[in-house]
C-alpha cells in the first residue's frame, strides 16, 4: 500500500467515525437521560459513569407521584392508555387504507383506461397538500359532527392522509410484478378480482407489509392532527411526550423514557424494512 492510499483510507475512516458520532450522539444522549435519575439528567459536563435506573420507565408506564429524591413528578398514568389509543387508531386506519389503496394501486399499475394520467396526478396531489391546510375546514366539521377527540375522527383523518402514500408505494411494487402472472391466471379461468387476491396480492406481500409498516410509522409519529383534534379521550402517544412539560418544571428523565418507548417499535420496523422502504418510497425509481 503506498503512502497516498494509506492516508486516503485513514481520512475516510475518520469521516465515517465523525458521521456516526454526529448522527448517533443525540440518540445516545436521550437514552442515557432516560436511565438517569432526574437530578443527574442534565448535569454539565454530562455524567458518563452512573448507576443506570429503570425508575423512569417504571413511572412512565405505571405512574408515580414522587421520585426517589422526594421531588414531585408529573403524574404519568396516561402513557399506556395513549399508547392503546395510538395502536387502535394507527392499526385501523392502516387497515382501511390498505383495503382502499391496494386495489387502486393495482389498477393504476396494470391496466390502461381513460383519464389515467389525471387520476394518478390527483392521487399524488393529495400528498402535496400540507396538513395544516386540512385542519381548519375539518376542525369546524368535526365540531359539528361531534368527532372531536374521538378515535373514529382520528381514524378517518389518518386513513385519508395515508392513502396517497400507500397507493404510490404499492403501485411501485405492482409495477415490478410480471404481467404474465396475471395473464396466466386469467387463462386458467380466474376472475379479475380473483387474479388480484389469488395472484397479485400474494406475490407482492413483502411490498404490502413494507407499505403497511411505513403507513403505521407515519401515523404513529403524526403530531399536528393529534394536537388539534385530540385532547383527552383519544390522545395519541406522541402527545404523551409533551405531558412532561409543566409550569413548574420539565421532567426530562421521564420524557426521555417516554420518548425512547415510543421510538423503539419504529426503530425495529425501520431496520427490518429498510430494503423495501427505498424502493417503495421512490416508487420503484430506486431498487433497494
Amino acid at each position: 500500500m503506498n503512502k497516498k492510499k494509506f492516508w486516503g483510507a485513514v481520512g475516510s475512516w475518520v469521516l465515517i467515525v465523525m458521521v456516526l458520532l454526529i448522527t448517533l450522539f443525540p440518540v445516545w444522549w436521550i437514552v442515557m437521560i432516560s436511565l438517569k435519575t432526574s437530578d443527574q439528567a442534565l448535569t454539565i459536563p454530562p455524567k458518563l459513569i452512573f448507576k443506570p435506573t429503570l425508575e423512569n420507565y417504571r413511572s412512565v408506564l405505571f405512574g408515580a407521584a414522587q421520585n426517589s429524591s422526594g421531588r414531585w413528578v408529573p403524574t404519568t398514568k396516561g402513557f399506556l392508555s395513549q399508547a392503546a389509543n395510538s395502536l387502535a387508531i394507527c392499526l385501523t386506519s392502516t387497515f382501511l387504507a390498505l383495503i382502499a389503496g391496494v386495489p387502486a394501486a393495482y389498477a393504476l399499475s396494470k391496466f390502461r383506461f381513460k383519464k389515467k394520467q389525471e387520476i394518478s396526478f390527483f392521487i399524488l396531489s393529495t400528498r402535496f397538500m400540507p396538513p395544516i391546510v386540512v385542519v381548519i375546514p375539518l376542525f369546524l366539521l368535526y365540531r359539528q359532527l361531534g368527532l372531536m377527540d374521538t378515535r373514529l375522527g382520528m381514524i378517518i383523518l389518518y386513513t385519508f392522509i395515508s392513502l396517497s402514500l400507500l397507493i404510490w408505494m404499492m403501485k411501485g411494487f405492482f409495477d415490478d410484478m410480471p404481467v404474465e402472472l396475471i395473464e396466466s391466471a386469467r387463462v386458467d379461468g380466474c376472475s379479475r378480482l380473483g387474479a388480484l387476491f389469488k395472484v397479485a396480492i400474494p406475490v407482492t406481500r413483502q411490498g404490502i407489509v413494507a407499505s403497511a409498516i411505513l403507513t403505521l410509522i407515519g401515523t404513529w409519529n403524526e403530531f399536528l392532527f393529534a394536537v388539534i383534534f385530540t385532547s383527552k379521550n383519544a390522545k395519541t402517544v406522541t402527545l404523551s411526550v409533551m405531558g412532561y412539560v409543566t409550569i413548574r418544571e420539565v421532567a426530562w428523565a421521564n420524557m426521555a423514557a417516554a420518548g425512547s418507548l415510543i421510538t423503539i417499535p419504529v426503530l425495529i420496523f425501520t431496520i427490518i424494512t429498510q430494503k423495501h422502504l427505498v424502493q417503495g418510497l421512490t416508487s420503484g425509481a430506486v431498487k433497494g
Binding site: T23, I119, F121, T126, V134, G172, L193, N221, F223, V278
Partner: protein, 297 residues
C-alpha cells in the same frame, strides 16, 4: 343470491371502476370538502368577535397582501425548503459516498446511520431544544472543550432559523443517504471499470458517470423531501413556537397561530388556500419540468 351474482357480473365487467372507487371516493370527498370550505371561509370574517361567519368578500386576501408577517413567513418557508433539501441531499450523497465500501461490517454501520430517521420528530425536537440550551446543553459544552464559544442557537433570532434547520437535516439526511446508497449500488461495477480504463479520475467519474446515472433517483428524492419541507410544523412547534420574535415562523405555523391562538378562522383559511395553491403548482411544475415519469407512465 341472484342479486349477488348480478353484482358480481357487473363488478367483473366494470373491474377498473371497482378497483379505483373506494380510494377515489375517499380522496375526492376530502379534497372537495376541504377546497370548497376553504374558499367559502376565506371570503368570510369569522373570528372571536364574530361567532358565526359573515361574508366580507376579498377582505381577508387584501389584509394578507398587506401583512408583512405573511410575506416573511412565506419567504422563510421557501428558504427552509431550499436549504433543507440541499443540505439533506448533498450531505446524504457525501455520506453515502464515504460509506460506499465493500468491507464486511459496513452494512451494520450503514444501518446505524439510519437511526435518527426512526426517532419521533417531536421527541427529537424536544431534546435538541435541550441540547441547544446555552447553560446546560451539551452542544455548547462540547464546543467549549475545543475552545469555541457556541452561539445562542434557538434563543437568538439570528441563529434560531438555522438551528431548527440543522435538526431537520440531522433527522432526514439518513433518508437521502439510504436512497442514494441504493442508487449507487444499482450502478453496475462494469461502468466504473470502463471509466477507469478510459482514464477518468475519481472526481471525473463522480461528476460524469455517477451523478448523471443517478439523475432519476436524485430528482425523486428532491421532490419527496421538498413535499415534506412544505409541511414543516412539528419541529417549529416544539422547539421555538415560531420565535424568538418571528424568526422561525414558517407559513404552516403562522396559519396555526392565526387559527388556533387568535381564532381568526377566515384569515387562516385564506392563508391555507394560498399555501395549497402554491404547493400544488410548485410540485406540478417541478414534476413536469424534471421529466420524472415514475409518477404516471
Amino acid at each position: 343470491m341472484k342479486l349477488w351474482k348480478a353484482v358480481g357480473k357487473w363488478a367483473e365487467k366494470k373491474y377498473i371502476f371497482c378497483f379505483l372507487a373506494p380510494a377515489m371516493i375517499i380522496l375526492t370527498a376530502f379534497a372537495a370538502y376541504i377546497t370548497i370550505s376553504l374558499i367559502y371561509l376565506s371570503l368570510c370574517n369569522w373570528n372571536v368577535t364574530n361567532p358565526s361567519p359573515v361574508f366580507t368578500g376579498l377582505t381577508n386576501y387584501v389584509n394578507i397582501v398587506k401583512d408583512p408577517s405573511f410575506w416573511k413567513s412565506l419567504g422563510r418557508t421557501f428558504l427552509y425548503l431550499i436549504c433543507t433539501v440541499t443540505g439533506e441531499v448533498v450531505l446524504g450523497f457525501f455520506v453515502a459516498y464515504v460509506f460506499d465500501k465493500q468491507i464486511s461490517g459496513m452494512r451494520f454501520l450503514r444501518t446505524l446511520v439510519l437511526i435518527p430517521m426512526a426517532i419521533t420528530p417531536v421527541v427529537a425536537g424536544m431534546f435538541w431544544k435541550v441540547m441547544y440550551n446555552t447553560s446546560y446543553g451539551p452542544v455548547n459544552y462540547f464546543l467549549s472543550l475545543i475552545g469555541i464559544k457556541g452561539p445562542a442557537w434557538i434563543a437568538s433570532d439570528k441563529t434560531a432559523f438555522w438551528s431548527v434547520l440543522i435538526v431537520n437535516i440531522w433527522q432526514w439526511m439518513p433518508f437521502s443517504f439510504l436512497t442514494i446508497t441504493a442508487g449507487l449500488h444499482s450502478i453496475s461495477r462494469d461502468v466504473y471499470e470502463a471509466a477507469q480504463i478510459d482514464g477518468a479520475g475519481k472526481m471525473k467519474t463522480l461528476f460524469y458517470v455517477t451523478i448523471p446515472m443517478m439523475k432519476q433517483v436524485l430528482i425523486t428524492l428532491v421532490l419527496l423531501r421538498a413535499i415534506e419541507a412544505m409541511k414543516a410544523y412539528d419541529l417549529v412547534y416544539v422547539m421555538t413556537s415560531g420565535g424568538p420574535g418571528e424568526a422561525t415562523q414558517l407559513l404552516p405555523f403562522y396559519i396555526y397561530t392565526k387559527g388556533f391562538t387568535w381564532f381568526d378562522f377566515g384569515y387562516a383559511a385564506a392563508m391555507s388556500l394560498i399555501l395549497l395553491v402554491i404547493a400544488n403548482n410548485l410540485f406540478k411544475f417541478f414534476i413536469n419540468k424534471s421529466g420524472v415519469n415514475v409518477f404516471y407512465e
